[in-house]
Amino acid sequence: MGAKGIRIEGLKKRYGSGDTAVDALKSVNMEIAPGEVVGLIGPSGSGKSTLLKSLGAVIDPTAGRMTLGDEVIYDEGWKVRDLRALRRDKIGFVFQAPYLIPFLDVTDNVALLPMLAGARNSDARARAMELLTALDVHHRARAMPSQLSGGEQQRVSIARGLINRPPVILADEPTAPLDSERAMAVIRILNDMAKRFETAIIVVTHDEKIIPTFKRIYHIRDGVTHEEVGEGRAVA
């Protein structure tokens, strides 16, 4: 793989110790190239959420190695010092529920991240408008989140995840609350954005209707990942 994307090698996560220890992740190996969208599926209790939290630098793995772009962010107990800045600058998040900030309008919801990173308000808003235009929600730029439909909220959430041009986006069940048509639209958008911004996107999902759209899928079961490469139905 190139200089960007994400690579995970032998990632492990153990909760507790001694007799009560639980190995949530036993051996996770993943490699996602820039511009690629992969699915991560698995039954409840398989370790999906633990993996997502580890990838999102929210919890510390117990062992293994993670490389984001050309930067090692975790290596056998060592980790980058400022995880908050790492999350802000290098990782985008798209959630099952959009979790937009209810008291900020659409533009400021998207522009908030660069503002937090120190960008000027006008620059941050210009970047937000660019993304909102790309995602076709620019006409709702001044609307409050409560005034948006579910699909519009999710597109704004995707714009927020992309605003800092992160090398990787973690999407946690992004289509769960949407009907088939809107779910497919969201996957289409994610594919477009991945290509456009050279971003690696990991989509955690249970959604049967979108699983065939992934060219590569990682199954996780009992804390171990298995890669499956299929024809898929990549969405144009």
Binding site: S49, F93, D172
Partner: protein, 400 residues
């Protein structure tokens, strides 16, 4: 960087305004309570100012005439008047009672003033209507807070008085408005018994062989006459000649007249430190309780508002928001709530103060101190919500 706090306030302004209004009423009560205390102190100082005295000479070993009863012979003032440094010395009596006017009565402090005029110690220094007392009997000057008008007929004991003048801010340390009447009338009013009591007293005196001696005609009449008059006053108000130290003259009175004399600072200490001390403590307790209640309300409201957006806070933390940005948002909201509350409270206190029966004095310094106290309370009250917000795990934003 945009202000998250102001955006949140604008988004849910109704909640903030109504909460701020409720808090404001509480702050208004707090400011008013402070104003009541200031009013009591000011009433006490007004009483001393309006008496026009430099020294108060009272019965030995008493704190009279305002804090304790004091009784002096009404000819003692002559001796005081002759002392070095004394410019003027006049008798005065104070009697708090119900003064009747027609069908109603008003609680007032009846002041008996010695013959003189405006500028004589004890007299009202200025009038807002009518004239000063010019006759020896049955005329009165009343504070307008009594509600009396020029020409009203007042009943004090068995005598009737015509209101000839009105004055303002002449009140006792309790805030009771004053009614000024001639000294002789006031002495009689202090002493006068009802007819049945007088008859009973005369009967008992006549039945006493020590007073009703067969060989001493006129002795019984003299005793009865002595029993029917009052030669006592409550205090002697003294003004000093320029260049004389009040404390030195007071020492001289204490030493040579064997009376108690108080200077102005000593009298202030008695009024503020003893007479209204209990009321001040009571008000102080109320202020503490109101401050605690205000803090609890702010803490509860801010905590509730924070808990309402706990998921959003988890998202903010997950996407890399600094803890201090989140803490500042919560603290700014608490301060904004306090600011709204203070403005509402200040307006409420200012407009309601004149409606209180007692004088409520709202000092700018108290308002400024109150404003900063509200801010401190709000900052402290926000700490619970900040602590909760900072303990939110960003992982909560991720399902599972």
């Amino acid at each position: 960087m945009i202000s998250l706090a102001s955006r949140d306030i604008l988004h849910s302004w109704g909640k903030f305004i109504f909460t701020g209004f409720g808090l404001g009423l509480l702050i208004g009560v707090t400011l008013t309570m402070a104003g009541v205390y200031r009013g009591m102190v000011d009433d006490g100082k007004a009483l001393l100012d309006n008496s026009g005295a430099d020294l108060w000479v009272v019965q030995q070993d008493t704190l009279g005439p305002y804090a304790e009863s004091s009784s002096l012979s009404d000819d003692l003032y002559r001796g005081v008047l002759a002392m070095p440094g004394v410019s003027n010395a006049v008798n005065v009596t104070y009697l708090t009672m119900q003064v009747r006017q027609g069908e109603r009565d008003v609680r007032a402090m009846v002041v008996g003033v010695a013959p003189g005029g405006a500028g004589t110690p004890g007299w009202p220094p200025y009038l807002v209507d009518g004239r000063q007392i010019t006759r020896s009997h049955y005329e009165a000057v009343a504070d307008i807070a009594t509600g009396f008008k020029i020409g009203d007929r007042l009943t004090i004991r068995r005598n009737q008085y015509a209101v000839v003048g009105l004055t303002r801010r002449m009140v006792s340390s309790n805030g009771d408005p004053m009614v000024f009447i001639p000294l002789r009338d006031a002495q009689e009013a202090q002493f006068l018994k009802d007819n049945d009591a007088i008859l009973e007293s005369r009967r008992r005196t006549a039945a006493n062989p020590a007073f009703n001696r067969p060989g001493a005609p006129g002795f019984l009449d003299a005793v009865i006459a002595a029993q029917s008059t009052n030669a006592s006053v409550n205090a002697v108000l003294v003004t000093l000649e320029p260049g004389h130290e009040p404390e030195a003259v007071a020492q001289s009175v204490r030493r040579w007249k064997r009376l108690t004399a108080f200077t102005r600072p000593e009298m202030e200490r008695i009024l503020v430190g003893k007479l209204i001390a209990t009321a001040a403590k009571q008000i102080g307790m109320f202020l503490v309780i109101l401050a605690v209640v205000s803090a609890a309300i702010v803490a509860f409201i801010i905590y509730t508002l924070t808990m309402d957006k706990i998921r959003e806070i988890a998202v903010l933390k997950l996407i890399g928001t600094r803890n201090r940005t989140i803490a500042a948002m919560i603290m700014q909201q608490a301060v904004a709530l306090g600011f709204i509350g203070f403005v509402v409270g200040k307006i409420t206190a200012s407009y309601s103060a004149p409606l209180f029966p007692k004088y409520v004095l709202l000092l700018p310094g108290d308002s400024i101190a109150g404003f900063f106290a509200v801010l401190v309370i709000c900052v402290l009250a926000s700490l619970v919500a900040i602590r909760t917000a900072l303990r939110v795990d960003p992982a909560e934003a991720i399902g599972g």
